[in-house]
Symmetry: C2
Subunit: 201 residues, 2 copies
DNA sequence: TCTTTTATGGTACAACCATACCATCTTGGT
DNA sequence: ACCAAGATGGTATGGTTGTACCATAAAAGA
């Protein structure tokens, strides 16, 4: 065997190029050529590591979803020393608001994929379903914990409130992406809403 | 002068064809040819009524935004006989949840445009800004009215709550579009949340 | 009836796209 | 030292897209 190239590393490098292209010229501008140019390699190589464009797009989506999962888990872990449900919930939901550049890229491209999946059958079953469901269960658990601990009104319907929380963070994140609101404003609104859910005492 | 053709009607017919194509094969599948086929006319005619593709897309976006404005105003008018702010707010926000097929088409295509506008400079300034701002002011007004009438907790920050409402309805609408939730569920969640904002007594 | 304007069809063209194919280095094993 | 296999470059091909161009039918005004 010849040259020794780490395939996974190469693939990651190409996918990162794709994400950069998608983030600043749109998912529709992602072509074999544009990705190759952005990655600084030849088109042939993109073909070599991802046989077809569809496979390239699917691989990029997988990486995106995995990376976003990591980011959320990191947030939970970092806020995990103080086990107050309110802090955990706020940390997790804040991940939906694009603050740093990486976050913005991820959410923009992810949203582009999500919208595309509505009409493109090839993206049909993808992780657009699983992740939100997990998240909903997680939020329900946190809310009921808080209720039992007396940190949240026991009259609340935890499941409905969880769905509201998910919708709020998605809506705020989208408005930030569209440039209607700054990330700071969105974070403040989220903070306010959580303040109503978890009365300080 | 010859044949007598109502230009506006023709243009509307073509734009409707575009919306149908965009709604069931995606905005990326909107091409001069696909629109012409869907409208049952020749490509040349599409060129004739909209000189360039960009102008066609912009005209379609304008029509879309206008039509959505109409729908919201209709809702307000229909719920307007009983002037309870809560009913008005619920009616308006429910418009963001795609129930009937026309509503689904509109919101899907509108969302596709909105996401596209992030990366496409030609869609830069468009109505993605104006409409939400108007809406925010409207909601603030309704909330403060309700507070003065004793129908809502005067402790609430009307502006923050308005932003939350906007985010909730956008988030719920998106989740319905993505097939994560039914329109009925989304409406129920919205109803629940409004129930918390406007205590029955 | 003739002409001028409008509405339409068809086609050609240059650019771009995904992909298939052919060739050429490079290097690990023998 | 050689060779087989992996890694890469270049190019050809068939299809699609937006748009420009050339034609013609139709009908309103003279």
């Amino acid at each position: 065997m010849p040259k020794l190239v780490d395939h996974e590393e190469r693939r990651a490098q190409i996918i990162d190029a794709l994400l950069r292209v998608a983030a600043d010229t749109g998912l529709h501008a992602v072509t074999m050529r544009s990705v190759a140019v952005e990655a600084g390699i030849s088109v042939r190589l993109v073909q070599y590591y991802f046989d077809t464009k569809e496979q390239l797009l699917l691989a990029a989506l997988d990486r995106l979803a995995a990376r976003m999962g990591e980011r959320v888990r990191d947030r939970v872990r970092r806020a995990g020393s103080s086990p107050a449900p309110r802090d955990i919930v706020e940390a997790v939901l804040l991940e939906a608001v694009p603050t740093d550049e990486e976050s913005r890229t991820f959410h923009l491209v992810y949203t582009e994929y999500a919208v595309l999946s509505v009409t493109d059958p090839a993206l049909g079953g993808r992780p657009f379903l699983a992740a939100p469901d997990e998240m909903e269960e997680f939020l329900v658990a946190q809310l009921t914990t808080a209720q039992r601990a007396g940190d949240a009104d026991p009259e609340l319907d935890a499941r409905q409130e969880a769905v509201v929380l998910l919708a709020v963070s998605a809506g705020l994140g989208l408005s930030v992406l569209l440039g209607q609101r700054t990330a700071g404003d969105a974070a403040a609104v989220l903070h306010y809403h959580l303040g109503r859910l978890f009365p300080s005492r």
